[in-house]
């Protein structure tokens, strides 16, 4: 049986910090002896902390197929994230996890054509799945990624998208930004509208993550196109402290986002009170 030794974290060393956007950095974390702190599945999260500052739940953005390190893409938006953004390579932090369920990559998603829809930092949890299915290409059908951000500069993982995903013959990437910008000759417009314009096949299984307002309009658009709740997955974020379903903070209805989520199918979400 597991035990809540899980509240006692491990030490992680930050070995690389990449400035993705003006307010998003991606941190590479390994154990002090080198190598990953633990194995995870795509969509799972970990509690990162800076002792004395606080602890917070972040999705693990690297794929489990990466055997050397874990990565976390973190937007600077509060006290802990501000501290994380201010640190230098070599800094130790604490890590505990992995927590929560994961995208059903080995079951429901297997053999399916996959459509990923992300907005802004919402790409972080989906990147783990995208790179997982790219590494296990033979197990999945087509892969389409629709990703948008406020501006070109706010696209997270832009270099990886350009260098790897767009050069991967099995992956279609459709990028969009909210407003026209010098040096951008791609699509301009909000993600939900772009999804409707692209009108992806309703055979696809959809994984969506982004700001709540984007998710809301995207889901409405998908339904107009003929998608049903049972083919759309998302990953949720609520305040968490314990990460093991006991502190009560992320409780919605009879579910705890930390342990019953963060991944939910929209038909499951529909059964919960609208409190997220």
């Amino acid at each position: 049986m597991n035990s809540i030794e899980t509240l006692i974290p491990k030490i992680g060393v930050v070995t690389d910090i990449r400035q993705d956007t003006p307010d998003v950095k991606t941190f590479r974390v390994v154990s002090p002896e080198g190598g990953k702190l633990f194995e995870h599945m795509p969509g799972q999260c970990a509690m990162l902390s800076v002792p004395g500052v606080g602890e917070g739940m972040f999705s693990i953005t690297s794929s489990p197929t990466n055997k050397e390190f874990m990565e976390f893409s973190i937007k600077k938006c509060g006290c802990l994230t501000g501290w994380l953004h201010a640190m230098d390579v070599g800094q130790q932090i604490t890590v505990r996890g992995p927590y929560g369920n994961h995208f059903p990559v080995e079951t429901e998603l297997k053999g399916r054509d996959l459509l990923f829809i992300a907005g802004g930092i919402g790409l972080a949890p989906l990147r783990s799945v995208i790179n997982y299915v790219r590494d296990k290409r033979e197990n999945y059908g087509s892969i389409q990624v629709i990703y948008g951000s406020r501006s070109k500069d706010d696209l997270v993982d832009y270099q990886e998208i350009l260098d790897e995903w767009m050069n991967d013959p099995g992956v279609e990437v459709d990028l969009t930004i909210d407003n026209p910008q010098e040096g951008w000759d791609g699509h301009v417009g909000f993600v939900p509208n772009y999804v409707k314009e692209l009108a992806p096949s309703t055979d696809k299984t959809v994984l969506v993550c982004g700001p709540p307002i984007m998710i809301k309009f995207t889901l409405a658009g998908l339904k107009e196109l003929g998608f049903t709740d049972t083919q759309v997955y998302t990953t949720m974020e609520l305040r968490m402290k314990c990460a093991v379903g006991k502190c009560g903070r992320c409780n919605i209805g009879n579910k705890y986002v930390c342990k019953d989520g963060p991944v939910f199918r929209f038909d499951e979400l529909g059964e919960l009170p609208d409190e997220y």
Binding site: M1, I8, S49, P51, G78, R239, K246
Partner: protein, 339 residues
């Protein structure tokens, strides 16, 4: 049944306390009762129950989880946990005894909370049957028999003697450890006291309160009820109900810099507080209505849905007597039931 004369309770407490730490409900200077570590001469309270519930013994209001030493870029993680010493809590009422099985469903569910389990393993609960229940009592609503409490061992008073009954092996070991002070006694008067108490329980003002209209399948029926506005209107969000509640277990985790190290501790928190769910991107429960609703929906719908119909309330009545605006779970249940 083994018994001891009430006059000899001091001797009994002395014997228990010589072997392990003993806590008993005792009078406070303000006339209310609280659990205190037994010292020679201390008397068992005459009050029905303590202001604070007995959950503190297993889930204290604050406790250290982990310590850190930070030097430059390096962190040392220090596990502060120690094996708990054996202790006895004497005089727990039936309502509070049931609260432990409810807390167990949270803290002993996988992954087990080792801090809680450590105390649970080392604590012996000796309950005391009620003889004079209060008007705020409604434990019967939740299937609790105040005259036959759970716990490891149960005590029953007939006014002259205290009788002992083991409810499990731990309770039997406790009774064995004090058997030199006990004698076999006749329970005729005790049976009389018990049936009298049962009659009182039947006539309590809240005796008719029922859970039949509550449970895991009532989400849609009650979540959008138009009663929540009126019910929560005067709620101050003070959290008193959650702090005196024997089954409320929401907690916070925070760090404290002692000047020579960082202590990460947990402390009780309340879903009634405005920043309980507040995060950088917003707050899913912005109004007191939503926070108030969460507390009662959790106890009456969400918790039973996850725990085979068990409710998150034991009818101890503490929230009835302590809420500064006189709002409580009984009023909520009655209002929701009205069609």
């Amino acid at each position: 049944m083994l018994k001891i004369a009430i006059d000899s309770l001091g001797e009994l407490f002395g014997k228990i306390a010589s072997a392990q730490t003993l806590y008993i409900p005792a009078d406070r200077p303000d006339g209310e009762a609280e659990y205190r570590k037994y010292e020679p001469g201390m008397k068992l309270t005459g009050r029905l129950n303590t202001v604070r519930s007995a959950k503190d013994f297993f889930f204290p209001q604050t406790e250290s989880l982990v310590d850190f030493k930070v030097e430059g870029k390096n962190i040392e993680v220090i596990d502060p946990r120690k094996e708990c010493e054996d202790f006895v809590v004497f005089g727990v009422r039936a309502c509070d005894a049931r609260s432990f099985t409810i807390l167990d469903k949270v803290f002993l569910a996988d992954p087990v909370d080792s801090y809680y389990k450590n105390r649970r393993d080392h604590g012996t609960i000796v309950t005391m049957a009620c003889t004079r229940p209060a008007e705020t009592c409604f434990c019967g609503t939740f299937g609790i028999d105040a005259t036959a409490p759970e716990g490891d061992a149960a005590c029953f008073s007939d006014g002259e003697s205290i009788f002992f009954k083991a409810n499990n092996d731990k309770g039997q070991r406790f009774i064995d450890s004090i058997s030199s002070l006990l004698e076999e006694g006749d329970t005729a008067k005790l049976d009389e006291v018990q049936s009298k108490t049962r009659e009182i329980l039947k006539k309590l003002p809240l005796a008719a309160l029922s859970t039949e209209n509550f449970g895991g399948d009532k989400l849609n029926e009650y979540f959008n009820s138009d009663k929540w506005g009126e019910l929560s209107e005067s709620c101050l969000g003070c959290g008193t109900c959650t702090f005196v509640c024997p089954t409320c277990q929401c907690y916070d985790i925070k760090d404290f810099d002692t000047g020579h190290g960082i202590k990460r501790f947990r402390c009780w928190d309340s879903c009634m507080y405005s920043d309980f769910t507040k995060m950088a991107h917003g707050n899913p429960r912005l109004t007191q209505l939503e926070r108030f609703r969460q507390r009662f929906m959790h106890k009456l719908v969400y918790f039973p849905k996850n725990n085979d119909g068990e409710f998150g309330c034991v009818g101890c009545g503490r929230c009835l007597s302590k809420c500064p605006i006189s709002m409580n779970i009984v009023k909520v249940m009655k209002a929701l039931e009205e069609k």
